[in-house]
Amino acid sequence: MIVLLGVALVVVGFALRINPLLVVTVAGIVSALLAGLTPLHILEGFGSGFAASRSVTLAFFVLPIIGLLERYGLQQRAKQLVSRAAGLTAGRLLLAYLFFRQLLAAFGLTSIGGTPQMVRPVIYPMAEGAALRAYGAVNDDVTETIKANAAAADTIGAFFGEDCFVAIGSVLLIAGYVDASYHLKLDALQIAIWAIPTAVAAFLIHGFRLLRLDGRLARMID
């Protein structure tokens, strides 16, 4: 029971808004010590954990090319494009992005999209461009809301799309774990198919909220 103290540390640390990097490191060390690991084993745990999880960090490998494009006005071009499309509002644009993000992810194409390569350089500037065209000027609250919604549309689209694809990690994990532990033969396709009702619900729910976003933004301007 005492090993759960590490979990409690994380919860308290995040609640008190202490630097997450510090919280996580301390919680990891405390949990490992409580479980009776030696200091050498703890260092090894951090080392092998880091080595095994390097693929997450590869998302940042695109930053030099994205930065170069930003230097030459990629964000501004995205805004210019939108400023001519009448009827395109921030909410509708993000709804379209949510749709394509989810659809592509459902075909296993999760690597199309993501904050570094799509949201920051293209989607967020377009959404803000649409708001600028509608309201003339935007304040900090509007910008902040658009950023949060652009990032949220990206994450929600990816999450509730990818599970409909048979060869994605979560589907394979379910099949692999259940087959190994309980000697079943679960069909990965069956698992992927049963993700579709939730995927549709997610699109309807979040899409509805995105359509209401324009009204919210308008109220922030007044």
Binding site: L4, I42, V62, I65, I66, E70, R77, T155, I174, L184
Partner: protein
């Protein structure tokens, strides 16, 4: 066979260069610790499994402390002004999108096409690494296309601009990997088994509604704590999903487990522990409220969760 190692080296090389650029930046408010953070990060990405795990672990803890106690900060990187960017955008027009679209296009071609090539009966790309290799190849291709189309006076300016964005994310860059490590340490320490044991005690065995609710809520809560539905799934399934829902109540396992996992995903939308999904994007978008994205996602997460519980009550029991 081509694996993903070389991409780690290139990515590590980029981080290291960013660190060196910071070391040369006299105006940087926290020059040396920040330079050390990025150089160490770059070196660690390159080193990977080539050095003893304890040595890498020591480097990781030093990085975490440098970033965790606020010794690092963001420098001021000179870039083009808004007016210059507008002018450049008007001149280059949609040409600017070509390198950006090269990334997804080449990623998909390499990941899908390259995954099918085999030479002498052996896969050309190491299985499981196709997407990573695709992303690596695509990024290099996009950089080449960008250099060709934009013709910057100094091609290395891409790394200066890359450093600008990397510093915008700051220490949060390390957070996703630290959380993955914490998950591992939690598992080693037996956190999962403890939570499973507790769940087994409190779940009522005769109410279908309460048992489904316990499975779904357990998935979501444990995902919020661990930051990852993958970590929650085996534990909650072993405690509730398999013994109670499938074995006792006769639920169909495929939809029960598939939707159970998605109940966990609703937890992922609500937790700062899923840093790469919920904390890195706000950092990269330079938002003032680093929890702003999570706050936006919570209402959607609650609604999708409710739908999942309803589906789990009906579909697996038909």
């Amino acid at each position: 066979m081509i694996g993903a190692d070389w991409i780690y080296w290139l990515c590590g090389g980029f981080f290291f260069i960013a660190g060196v650029l910071i070391a040369y930046d006299r105006t940087h408010p926290k020059r040396w610790p920040t330079a050390a953070f990025w150089c160490l990060f770059g070196a660690s990405l390159c080193a990977g499994t080539l050095v003893p795990a304890w040595l890498l672990g020591a480097a990781v803890i030093i990085m975490a402390l440098l970033g965790g106690v606020g010794l690092t900060s963001r420098g001021n990187v000179r870039t083009t002004s808004d007016a210059e960017r507008e002018a450049s955008a008007t001149r280059l027009r949609n040409l600017l999108f070509v390198p950006a679209l090269t990334i997804p296009a080449v990623t998909v071609i390499v990941a899908v096409g390259g995954g099918r090539i085999s030479i002498g009966g052996r896969a050309f790309l190491v299985p499981g690494s196709q997407t990573l290799v695709g992303l690596g190849v695509a990024t290099i291709a996009a950089l080449g296309v960008g250099w060709l189309l934009l013709r910057p006076k100094n091609p290395a300016i891409a790394f200066v601009e890359g450093r600008r964005l990397l510093e915008a994310i700051g220490w949060a860059t390390l957070l996703p990997q630290m959380l993955a490590t914490l998950g591992l340490l939690f598992t080693q320490a037996g956190v999962g088994t403890q939570v499973g044991a507790i769940m087994q005690h409190i779940v009522p065995e005769h109410s279908r509604f309460l048992a489904v609710l316990a499975y779904a809520v357990g998935m979501a809560l444990f995902t919020i704590i661990m930051g990852n539905a993958f970590a929650a799934f085996p534990i909650m399934t072993a405690a509730v999903g398999w013994p109670i829902l499938v074995q006792q109540m006769g639920a169909n396992p495929a939809p029960m487990f598939a939707i159970g996992m998605l109940a966990g995903f609703c937890g992922t939308l609500c937790t700062p522990m899923a840093a790469n999904f919920n904390l890195v994007p706000p950092a990269l978008l330079e938002m003032k409220d680093k929890y702003g994205q999570i706050k936006t996602q919570i209402p959607t997460a609650i609604a999708i969760f409710a739908v999942n519980v309803c589906l789990m009550l009906i579909v697996p029991f038909r």
